[in-house]
């Protein structure tokens, strides 16, 4: 499986990678993996940013839509970079997947890959990852939870039952905040 990007910032709770190609990040809410020594760290993509390489120079408007503008100005693909940030959800040590934070974060320059189907299935089999997401303090936490559930149920044997189970977990985590719960669940219809 080819790498989607390379870790450029790393901490216990999250890590950020530069996408291998401009606009080549994995989708919001998708599950990714990074190998770090003997452990494989799993995360979920929560933010995707494309910006200029030079922080001091802001891209200017050309009045031509993408990708036509890239053909006319091929240098742009070298001046812009796509970065994506991932929230750490768990890790694998040996044969077993643990759904809590790993002892060490990924190394810088590690390659990030898309999670394998079996890994997603195992990682999301019990909806404990939702607790990480909702308690992360991210502004997009609720949307991220919905996106992650959508990704997870694609690999679970009974998608309908999985959504209901995840919904019950959300209900527990949101302790009575029915409006928030309904907003998330509406994204799962």
């Amino acid at each position: 499986m080819s790498a989607l990007g390379e870790v450029v910032a790393s901490s216990t709770r999250e890590f950020t990678a530069e996408a291998r190609e401009l606009y080549g990040s994995p989708a919001f809410g998708s599950f990714v993996r990074v190998t770090a020594g003997e452990q494989v760290i799993y995360g979920v993509v929560y933010n995707i940013v494309t910006e200029g390489v030079d922080a001091g120079r802001r891209p200017v408007a050309f009045g031509t839509p993408w990708p036509q503008v890239a053909q006319e100005h091929p240098q742009l693909t070298k001046l812009l970079r796509t970065y994506f940030s991932c929230l750490t959800l768990g890790f694998r040590q040996g044969e077993r997947i643990y759904t809590y934070l790993p002892p060490f974060p990924p190394y810088i320059h590690s390659f990030i890959e898309e999670c394998r189907r079996e890994e997603i299935k195992e990682l999301t089999a019990r909806p404990h990852y939702l607790a990480h997401i909702l308690k992360s303090g991210l502004v997009v936490a609720d949307q991220l939870a919905a996106a992650a559930i959508r990704q997870a149920c694609a690999v679970q044997p009974d998608a309908g039952e999985y959504i209901r189970r995840a919904g019950r977990e959300l209900r527990r985590l949101l302790t009575g905040d029915l409006e928030r719960l309904k907003a998330i669940l509406r994204q799962l219809e």
Partner: protein, 531 residues
């Protein structure tokens, strides 16, 4: 139903969260539920059903049918759920002897609850054997017999209550037939409305139907005596004798019992005793025959005006069809002989007014009571058991057991203490609030059809613990063929669909009782009656 215990106490009952897949509408008040504890199995009654939510705000939330379908699916049944309030009544030690006993603890949190099975019902109420266990109906949601223990039923007083038209009479017929078939006691039935002895007309779903009387089911064991011969003949009743009451059998106490009907003041009541004291047993004919009231009053040292008023009121008694100067034979002795021989007696009142009904019931019961006390004392002296248990069925029971009268009439005494003398009452009434609460609390087995008056329900449940749940059960009964049974004859309160009093029932009663292959049922059918 299925669910799990999530809250509870012995005093207020156990609450079960209904499993999301079980529709709340299938859970009915009065249903039978079993909770499996770790060491005990608890038998409970559904006392209440309510909607609850993990967070109270959820209850007032509405769900958009399009957008919130998933939210509704997830929340309703799980976070918003049906709370089934159970009243545990009996428990069985799973490691012990397996006998149901009164509940003394509650099941643990999370204990699974389920609807009772036929096996559970059988374990608690016993299997019908027509000797001790008699099928009175089936649970509402199952088709298995619920039995009453007739031996226990006749040990203490029993009440059959319910609003008019809820099936009291049918239920009483079923019970009486059960007692007769089981031979647990002999019956003396004061049949105010001519419904028990011989065939009577009843309202069926498709117009009036004729239902058989007890004599038609048990011709050799039931005797019918009438107080209104003409009425009995008109109805084609095959009666065994006519009862007359002589003036000499009427005592002042019997008249005082009729106070509500005769409207006697205190002076009149005192004059009754004065008359008896001066004139002896023949006080009533003397009073009614007195023409010169002034002279009559003077001879007694009484007030002529008061006597005149009393005479006017007592003239109503004179007009009763069964009143004679002297009774041609001792009716009470004849009844007692029948009862002694194990025959059941139905007293038909025909068109007798309430006044006559009350007078006769009181006079006869008083004598029978005296006789039973005497016989019991004799039996005790001889070291034998008491006389054959007697069940006296009284309709319109509130007329004898109202709070004003219960302490004075013979029925109050019987209700309170006569079980020691093997005499108990089977009271049939539609207004329990009209019956003295002390008497109500002494009733061993209460069988109640629909009651919807708060005062009636409260009085019915006096002397019963944990009444909150039972009240709901009573209010929720259907108008027909449903009854709540609680007390001495059943191990736990139970709501039953009462047994049909129909051809099938007749056959069950007559089965194995026809000596020499005689078809008693056919013999007793309407076409064969010749008067």
């Amino acid at each position: 139903m299925r669910g799990k215990v999530f809250r509870g106490s012995l005093s207020t009952g156990v609450e079960v969260k209904l499993a999301p897949e079980c529709p709340v509408e299938d859970v009915r008040v009065g249903n039978f539920v079993v909770v499996e504890g770790r060491r005990h199995r608890f038998f409970c009654l559904v006392a209440d059903v309510k909607l609850e939510a993990v967070y109270p705000g959820f209850l007032t939330e509405t769900f958009d049918l399009e957008e919130d379908r998933l939210a509704q699916e997830i929340l309703v049944g799980d976070s918003i759920f049906a709370n089934v309030c159970l009243q545990p009544v009996l428990m069985v030690d799973l490691e012990g002897d397996g006998i149901p006993r009164a509940v003394k603890t509650i099941p643990p949190h999370g204990a699974p609850a389920r609807s009772a099975t036929a096996q559970d019902v059988g374990l608690i109420f016993g299997a019908p054997d027509d000797k001790t266990y008699f099928q009175i109906g089936t649970p509402l949601e199952m088709d298995v017999p619920v039995c009453v223990n007739l031996k226990r039923l006749v040990e203490r007083c029993t009440g059959v209550f319910g609003k008019a038209g809820t099936g009291k009479t049918f239920l009483t017929r079923v019970l009486l037939a059960g007692i007769i078939k089981s031979r647990q006691a002999v019956n003396l039935i004061f049949d105010a409305h001519n419904e028990y002895g011989w065939e009577s007309k009843s309202e069926g779903e498709e117009g009036p139907v004729y239902v058989k009387g007890l004599k038609q089911l048990f011709p050799s064991e039931v005797k019918i005596y009438t107080l209104d011969e003409e009425s009995s003949q008109r109805r084609g009743c095959k009666y065994d004798g006519v009862i007359y009451v002589g003036y000499d059998q009427i005592e002042p106490e019997d008249i005082i019992l009729l106070n509500n009907l005769l409207n006697l003041n205190a002076t009149a009541q005192e004059h009754l005793f004065l008359l008896q004291k001066k004139l002896g047993a023949a006080w009533l004919p003397h009073l009614l025959a007195a023409e010169d009231m002034e002279a009559f009053a003077e001879s007694l040292g009484a007030h002529s005006g008061a006597l005149q008023a009393l005479k006017r009121k007592l003239e109503r008694i004179e007009r009763l069809p069964f009143i004679r100067a002297r009774a041609p034979y001792d009716a009470v002795q004849r009844l007692l002989d029948d009862l002694e021989a194990g025959r059941h007696v139905v007293l038909e009142f025909g068109g007798t007014p309430t006044l006559g009904y009350m007078l006769v019931v009181n006079i006869l019961t008083k004598r029978i009571h005296e006789e039973y006390v005497r016989r019991t004392e004799e039996h005790i002296a001889l070291g034998k058991g008491g006389p054959r248990p007697l069940v006296i069925t009284v309709e319109e029971a509130h007329r004898f057991l109202s709070p004003q009268l219960a302490k004075e009439t013979i029925f109050g005494t019987i209700a309170r203490e006569m079980r020691k003398f093997n005499v108990t009452l089977l009271l049939v009434d539609q207004r329990t609030s009209g019956i003295d609460s002390e008497v109500m609390s002494q009733i061993g087995t209460k069988i109640s059809c629909k009651l919807d008056d708060e005062a009636d329900v409260n009085n019915l449940l006096s002397g019963t613990t944990n009444t909150g749940g039972l009240k709901n059960v009573l209010f929720s009964l259907d108008y027909k063929q449903q009854a709540l049974i609680l007390g001495h004859a059943v191990p736990m309160p139970v709501v039953v669909r009462t047994r049909n009093y129909d051809e099938e029932f007749y056959r069950a009663m007559v089965a194995s009782r026809a000596p020499g292959g005689v078809d008693w049922l056919r013999m007793a059918s309407r076409e064969d009656i010749e008067i």
